[in-house]
Amino acid sequence: MIKRLSVLLTLIVVAVLAAPAAVAQDEVILRYPITPDPEHLNPFTATTIAIGTITRPIYEGLVFIDQSTGEASPRLAESWDLSDDLMTYTVKLREGVLFHDVEGIEWDDREVKAEDYVWSAHIYASSDETISKHPEMMDDVVGIDEFRAGEAESISGIELVDDYTFTVTLKAPNRLFFTVSAGAITIVPREAYEQLPDFSNRPVGTGPFMFVEWLRDDHITLVANPEYWQEGFPKVDGIRFINVPDANTELLMYRQNELDFLFHFPTGQFAAIREEFPDEYNEMPGLNMRYFGFKMSTGFFAENPLVRQAFAHAFNRELVWNDLMEGVRFPGTLGVLPPAMPASTPETIYEYNLDTAAQLLEEAGFPNGEGIPPIDLYVFSSAKDELSLPVLQEDLRTLGVTLNIVVEDAATYWDHIGQDDVLMFLSGWSAGIPDPSDTLNYLFMNERDDTKYKNPEVDALLEQAMAEYDPEARADLYLQAHNLIMEDSPVIVSAYSKVTWLQKPWIESFEPGGGGSYTAHLWPVSVNTDLLP
């Protein structure tokens, strides 16, 4: 009896294992690892890159933004005119672009019209945060204040001209109209928003891929949009975003051909993986900057600018990032703007030199570090193994300064570092677009960042640069601001991100840009089926 049972069991096990995985052979599906899961898929309330990764192939806006120059090129907008006073955009939409078909809405070849832009813009403009998390995108449109105050039914600065044409009038010129302002919104069909009960988790756009299903924490499936307006695209039949929470698992899956890409390298294995997959490894400069911030509004560092400069000289970035961390990032030797950003290097940069650092400390009145209180450096838990910490600690120790490392979990850390008792912390910033404003305005303007840095001169220059349309004059303004910031030294720049990934030999035309896997356009990506295993 037991014998018979065990034979049966063995047969079942063999049968299950021998069963082929449920993959249709003739369909080409990109298998793209993600983590964490998106919070939801509602573009109006999206705040994280995890959401953007999934909605980017589904929803579209007026323009494409070049990842290296920030230049806009036509997308749903076929063309546009800017008035001579730089305040009014007249946008002409591409004709014949269709929204995806979706179960639950009765429509037939629903075309994108100018009124879809107008409607979407009004949703974005809402001051109810459950409806829109990005009202600031519409802040500089004429008539926005009256609309929000309830005095007007619609925003007077947005006008419908005909089915495919509309105008947007701004309060002041904004050269980033298409990247961060009213020109950057995505166009959503009103019917989906109003009629789909699960709109937040069921995106419907015009993009190259259409939403199929989302199995939480497992995978999200998209299929190619057969009626996509860019003829011949997308090049694959679908995308499967596979949630892989553990980098080691991601590596094992990649090795077994269960994934077409690898984006998260397990800690400490970067060099080994590069060696294992020399032909599949790719890298490009990223838009993130990693830094140690000083509290600039109060406390020890606020009172001692020379000590800040001394610390900036006393950190061996090259040792950390080129050697100890196996080259996962670029050492931060070019100031506060990453190399992927079109910007010039400032004149003041802090080279690693312990003698200069000691000299600065002496000038500041702390010879051999005497009189400097022990410093607590706050770090979020996922960065606790970063070797920049012991290196900085050791470099400062030789100067006679004690640095204690305080590790906090992310929620506590982010809440804590804004407070006055935190004098030094490790942080980072990712620019969403390759424009210096997207880093400088958030980190060094109007005490916006947790350093609470404020320099009216810098504020004025950044303000001026926002309104400067001439690229050369603008670059000069940014250089001036950059120099002042480096002089003030509110941060020690540690590193710039490197976008690194593995891709299988059969993947072609994948160019993720400075934002990495989160901002990559997937419609041009193709699979060379001859190379498939």
């Binding site: 939801h40 497992d218 506590t412």
Partner: protein, 312 residues
């Protein structure tokens, strides 16, 4: 019996209320800001007015008693609330994930019982033989090996060439193929405890007078073993299995992460990281409820196994 069950069910209310209160206080005392926890550096990009309005809506500005009463009132209406991070209700989150965790738990339990019970019986029947020694050494290793380690090890060996028997990870609509390795890893861990408990319980029963009587009557070995020994030895074994099911709810977190299994554990860890209080409370209270329910069922199962046990 009926009265007993009703009394036990009524006891669930104060127990859950106690659990809720303790959890709520803990969640309230946790340092950190949910908004920043979700947004990280992106926080700087948001309009300060949006942030303030969100804070107000989430009730983050309310004092302790207001938030406590609000939550309690919700609970009384069997409403677990909305996640502060996902645009989804907590009951939808649990409804999606619990069946998946349960699936893994059942798989693990089947493995644990299939390995643990026979191993324990054989070890007891062949006490002090080399089989007994070997089984117990293996069981000791099994108990001492944390799941996160054995999971990684199993994944490294059994999913990669040349021994790529299982898929690396994933759920795949709950396919048996994807379920096997995580079940095996979790089940193997629990089988070790089960084998040890079964062994000692069987040994204890073996020397009881009724077993000697059965033998003296000349009953067949298999009848003595199954009807007289095993049935009486099962009470502590069932207790351990029931306790393990509770443990599996927690132990599955690691397994779920390593094997990309979309269960409850994968929801609660990020919820804690992001201070998503409704989700934390919802899942934990659901877990507590489940634990109480399993305990009740176990107590009732005793009656079926051993008719001498009576609840008045």
């Amino acid at each position: 019996m009926g009265k007993y069950i009703i009394r036990r069910l009524l006891m669930v209310i104060p127990t859950l209320w106690g659990v809720f209160t303790i959890l709520f206080i803990l969640a309230f005392m946790m340092p950190g800001d949910p908004l920043r926890a979700v947004l990280g550096e992106e926080y700087n990009r948001l309009d300060p007015e949006v942030i303030e309005a969100t804070r107000e809506r989430m009730g983050l500005n309310d004092p302790f008693h207001v938030r406590y009463l609000k939550f309690l009132e919700q609970m009384l209406r069997f409403d677990l609330g909305e996640s502060q991070v996902h645009e989804e209700s907590v009951s939808a989150i649990i409804g999606y994930r619990f069946p998946r965790t349960a699936q893994l738990m059942i798989g693990a339990m089947v493995v644990a019982v299939l390995i643990g019970l026979p191993a324990g019986i054989v070890a007891a029947e062949r006490q002090y033989s080399w089989v007994d020694h070997w089984l117990m050494v293996v069981a000791l290793i099994g108990v001492s090996m944390p799941v996160f380690w054995s999971a990684l090890l199993a994944q490294l060996v059994l999913t990669q060439e040349p021994l790529a028997v299982f898929p690396v990870a994933g759920y795949e609509e709950g396919s048996v193929r994807h379920m096997m390795l995580p079940s095996l890893v979790l089940g193997a861990y629990y089988s070790a405890t089960l084998a040890r408990v079964t062994r000692s319980s069987m040994l204890e029963v073996k020397t009881q007078p009724y077993v000697t009587t059965a033998r003296a009557k000349g009953l067949r070995y298999r009848v003595i073993l199954t009807r007289h020994q095993l049935r009486n030895a099962l009470i502590p074994v069932i207790t351990v299995i029931a306790l393990d099911i509770g443990g599996l709810l927690g132990g599955a977190i690691v397994t779920e992460t390593v094997f990309n299994w979309p269960g409850l554990g994968r929801a609660i860890v990020p919820a804690i990281m992001r201070r998503d209080t409704p989700v934390i409370l919802g899942i934990l209270i659901f877990g507590a409820f489940l634990y109480i329910a399993i305990n009740l069922i176990t107590d009732l199962a005793y009656v079926l196994i051993n008719p001498r046990i009576r609840y008045e």
